[in-house]
């Protein structure tokens, strides 16, 4: 199984809602990532977890709250988002978060904030 599964595929939420994005992998990978991608732009790194510990936070606003309950799961909790947060949110994993590793990406959650 070389898949990273993201749910839901699409999400529409209001600015006062609380929602969560979920990501799962069963490749035994110990590093997991959240990227944000606006239309026609490259993915931008948000968070990195290595061995279930947050290792990189790219100064992401606190309305985005990541969680890594175990080595297979990664969540992104969303609260009080703004319309400019509408984007494709991509989860990825790699073997151990070391330098010479490739990332495996999920197909993303397309988020619209109204």
């Amino acid at each position: 199984d070389t898949e990273v599964t993201q749910t839901p595929k699409h999400l529409v939420m209001g600015m006062t809602n609380k929602k969560s994005l979920k990501c799962e992998q069963h490749m035994g990978h110990r590093a997991m990532y959240w990227y944000k991608q606006k239309a026609k732009k490259p993915p931008e790194l948000m968070f990195v977890y290595s061995y279930e510990k947050l290792s990189i936070n790219e100064s992401v606003p606190s309305r985005f709250s990541p969680e890594c309950p175990n080595s297979s799961l990664l969540n992104l909790h969303l609260h009080a988002l703004q319309p400019e947060d509408s984007a494709l949110y991509l989860c990825a994993s790699s073997q151990a978060g070391r330098a010479n590793e490739k990332l495996f990406f999920g197909s993303g959650t397309q988020l619209s904030v109204l």
């Binding site: 990273v4 490259p42 993915p43 070391r98 330098a99 990406f105 993303g108």
Partner: protein
């Protein structure tokens, strides 16, 4: 952190032709990777070249890296309609952060 800059921004070729995309970057890197993205969904890893390597091949893909010029190129030979996608270079910065370039949109016409 810095992104790679890619050119061209968009490329349109006929099936069977070769496609070349270039990536430049600004700082020292650990490695450089290329990814493909179809229709704004998940990215697929294509190839990784380490900073001490100069050239790498994978099937119809050929990647070069010139660390003195801080540049890389991706060549896709004998292109097919299925190669139509966005292609991104990604730079592994020290600290193990993978940072993506702006991307090249490739269209292969059949």
């Amino acid at each position: 952190s810095q992104q790679g800059e890619e050119d061209p921004q968009a490329l349109s070729i006929q099936e069977g032709e070769n496609a070349t995309m270039n990536c430049s970057y600004k700082t020292s890197i650990n490695n450089l990777q290329w990814y493909r993205q179809n229709s704004g969904r998940g990215l697929v890893h294509l190839i990784l070249i380490r900073s001490n390597e100069r050239e790498k091949h994978s099937g119809r893909l050929r990647v070069t890296l010139d660390t003195s010029k801080k540049s890389s190129s991706l060549l896709i030979t004998a292109s097919r309609a299925a190669d139509t996608a966005s292609y991104f270079c990604a730079i592994m910065e020290y600290g193990n952060k993978l940072v993506f370039g702006a991307g090249t949109i490739l269209r292969v016409k059949s």
